[in-house]
Symmetry: C2
């Protein structure tokens, strides 16, 4: 059957627990994280090609012009982007590539690469999200209010997504994401070569 990887775009409100879920998925070597390219300077210990690909602004703009980024954004004066080449290489190796990006970037990627699977990872309610944000104890009331406001906007874009994954428990969320991958690999539209394989002796 479909033997390439699936590009999984995981986004959702700040405080949804995306980082924890992604770290849990990464324990399984079916998955790998997309490595971003950035114009930000390397911090101590960061390595070219594993933390980020570090590029000058001129180089970054050339990547944009040449259509080599799946999406990009400017953040605190630095550019961040997702290089297509890395993603495609990993997908060809059969790895499911995880891209953890914010909602607007996720929608950009889906337009550019319709085979991507967009997952909206979220608690089941705005009040559960608020509990999580307060539970962290790291943000003040203004920041929490801003994040909840943004979450109310983000959830309206749910129809741009393929799946909703509820992060009530990390193991439920990762189990659901594994099911999504297993299901998508058998989607008819990813297996247009099935009739040929079927007639010529079977699938791998």
């Amino acid at each position: 059957m479909f033997d390439k990887g699936i590009l999984l775009i995981i986004s959702g409100p700040s405080g949804a627990g995306k980082g924890t879920v992604v770290n849990e998925l990464m324990k399984d070597d079916r998955f790998c994280l997309s490595v971003s390219v950035t114009t930000r300077r390397p911090r101590p210990g960061e390595k070219e090609g594993s933390s980020y690909y570090f590029r000058t602004e001129a180089e970054f703009k050339k990547l944009i012009e040449q259509g080599e980024l799946l999406e990009y954004a400017l953040f605190c004066g630095n550019f961040y982007g997702t290089p297509i080449k890395f993603v495609e290489e990993k997908l060809a190796e059969g790895k499911n590539v995880i891209l953890e990006i914010e909602v607007q970037g996720a929608i950009q990627v889906k337009e550019r690469y319709p085979d991507a699977v967009l997952i909206f990872l979220t608690p089941d309610s705005i009040s559960a999200l608020e509990d999580r944000l307060r539970g962290r104890g790291t943000e003040n009331d203004d920041v929490i209010a801003m994040r909840l406001r943004r979450a109310r906007e983000e959830v309206k874009l749910i129809q741009k997504y393929d799946y909703i994954v509820l992060n009530d428990l990390v193991r439920n969320a990762t189990s659901q994401i594994n099911k999504i991958v297993d299901t998508e690999k058998y989607a008819a539209e990813r297996n247009t070569d099935f009739p040929k394989k079927f007639l010529n002796g079977g699938v791998d």
Copy 2:
């Protein structure tokens, strides 16, 4: 989340093992079988509403005219059809309704009811299908040749389906179908009311 059932249409080549897989699924009360309506006379032991709904030809034609059948076909001089009402009642109760029908009927249903999930259940190759048909020892060479010819045609329609499920082992096929159901229930397009639930205190 989506709390109605999913309409699962299972079709695929004769000899794929659809009956065995459906029987296995039916051990789980999340699933129920669609009950067809027919103009055929009841056989001894068959009960109205559990085996079939038995109707006269005039009554059956009225069901067609009134648009109350998801699909129908004439077979050996008798009409067989799938009543929408039964399917919708069971879906509303949260049951996943299984419809085991041939390929053309499956495509009819999908056009009529786009929320249906079309599963093409099949061995992984035409030669595996032939082995299965020969292994049964119940059909002669002509019948087997006819079924293989038909399978070659059916597999060309794979793009009309949502998923391919390989029936190498019954437990793999049923596990895959369960994953499809679990995944589809969290599809964004089945949960257009999620933003409302999210803002008003959570999902069930």
